[in-house]
Symmetry: C2
Subunit: 340 residues, 2 copies
Amino acid sequence: MTLRNPSTKVTILDVARLAGVSKSTASKALNNQNYVSEATRQRVLDAAQKLNFSPNKVAQSLKQKRSYAIGLITDDLEGLFTTSMLHGVDEAIISHNFNVILCNSFGDAAREKARLEMLLARQIDGVILLGYKVRERGLPALVLGDVPVVYLYQYTVLPGVPSVIPDDFGGAIMGTQHLLELGRRRIAFVNGPPHYEVTHLRREGYRHALETAGKPYDPNLVFTSRKWHQNFGYDAGKQLRELAELPDAVFCASDSLAIGVMDALHESGHRVPDDIAVVGFDNRPYSAHQRRPLTTVALPLKAMGVLAGELLIDAIMNETHESVVHRVPCYLVRRESSGT
Amino acid sequence: MTLRNPSTKVTILDVARLAGVSKSTASKALNNQNYVSEATRQRVLDAAQKLNFSPNKVAQSLKQKRSYAIGLITDDLEGLFTTSMLHGVDEAIISHNFNVILCNSFGDAAREKARLEMLLARQIDGVILLGYKVRERGLPALVLGDVPVVYLYQYTVLPGVPSVIPDDFGGAIMGTQHLLELGRRRIAFVNGPPHYEVTHLRREGYRHALETAGKPYDPNLVFTSRKWHQNFGYDAGKQLRELAELPDAVFCASDSLAIGVMDALHESGHRVPDDIAVVGFDNRPYSAHQRRPLTTVALPLKAMGVLAGELLIDAIMNETHESVVHRVPCYLVRRESSGT
DNA sequence: TTGAAAGCGTTACCAT
DNA sequence: ATGGTAACGCTTTCAA
């Protein structure tokens, strides 16, 4: 297997020659260092311009022991959430002239370790571990030496490792308050499976918003589905519509559940949002494309990506490792299912 | 702004010392070269193992003028299509020990050029231009010198640059045939805006499938919407349901249109798929989450990514630049909207 | 079969 | 203010 011959590139030596100075002087001029006269700096800059010189980053990396690249390892590259976070990370990072090297671990620990080692061999300056699935927390740090790490979408309490996750509690408050502000009085809650941290947080947000508004938390209005899937939302919707008195709103712990609920409601002739307003959680891509586009509490995915990127850059530049769990505020996306 | 001190890494010199050989011998042993005795090779391998040595890829790149990294520039990182293709590219590439460096151009030519130059400075071995939006074709190649390029999701006829796109014509045949095989006889077609190449191809596929089956192409059953948006599908659906005789199937040039059509049909009490079967095109993430999950002709996004990755690796390794437009076959995703 | 030395393109130290 | 030289970690002649 033969490899292609790479192109001949213009080096700093060429620039120096054209400018009539030494290699080291050219380097200083190009890097805006002091101790080089304005005149020569101009000549070097002109020469560089003329030759269309751009420094070889590989050589720079070797010398500076800094690659200006970070690795991003994701659980689930096809996941619908991943891409927005990726976008945020890239945006935050590119403005510092860093690039992101992408790796997919498929949630497999062995593969994750292999990718991590590859990234380390590439001398990356930092790593973002973007975890969609739940992960054995703390594992990866072992291999990382002193390369800073940020957890994204999942969190860890490892010392020196910051995490960026959505503020589920606050988001649930926001969704509930939205319904309250719309004048809805009896607000049901359809939760996901118990024993997840999110379901706990979202239910507590719902409860908190109600109580803050001086309304009682009524367990009869709270439904728990066994799984997140739409079909289980449908089941919850059936229970809901058989209540003696139909609530005038329902807040669901996920969009998938909300869509199932809307299905059940539609089936029995109840109108959304006139008879009952529906609000979901997550802002899944399909939520806008329902017959009744779904109002939902959106996960701040891009903002999370941006924050993770910034935290990482900060850790790289300033050696600041703070083991904080950052909860980024959700935001509300108003659509038809909750009225106007 | 101070930079962190990188960790002390184990180099090949350490390995050589531990094995009691010279640096160059160690290198040869590690790279499975000939002219090194089995005994020393073993000692070197053991030493490397013991020290957990992994070669510094940056130094390797500098020496070999080959980075084992490719750049992927996308128009639209948040796009729902992008992520599957990314996944495919990564999968194809990782098996050759390449990595992908991700860049977002937002469809902006200036930014694209800047990213390209950054990638080139990083000595990447190849580039994939993943274009969701239409692009001024041929532009980027100018700056690329002899670094191989593959276009993905968009195409170019530049010499030496292969392109990978979906086979829209074949996909439309597939969708139409599916309805035919289901025994549907009068199949309407809802097309997107004219003057797009895809709309032409998809309509021709529909026509071809009909004619191959010995059915006439009936212009009265063909509707053209002004835009791709769901609302325009809804309008088409309204026209459709007012035909003297309702067709027993409708094939839509996109999922968004199909969803609009289903809306209109639902409104007038027509049942999908019993009264009329509906098939879409694209396999958008929301299509599975409709009240009546949508049967659709799926774009082979991941396969396209894989192919693009393989073509690029091939071009890098073998200097084979073929300016072919590869049309990857679509596949059918059967859901409820077309019956069972 | 082994090892010394040169070189990849850059930056940084230390002379001048 | 400028330039020679070494060094980053690796691979690759070339000579022994």
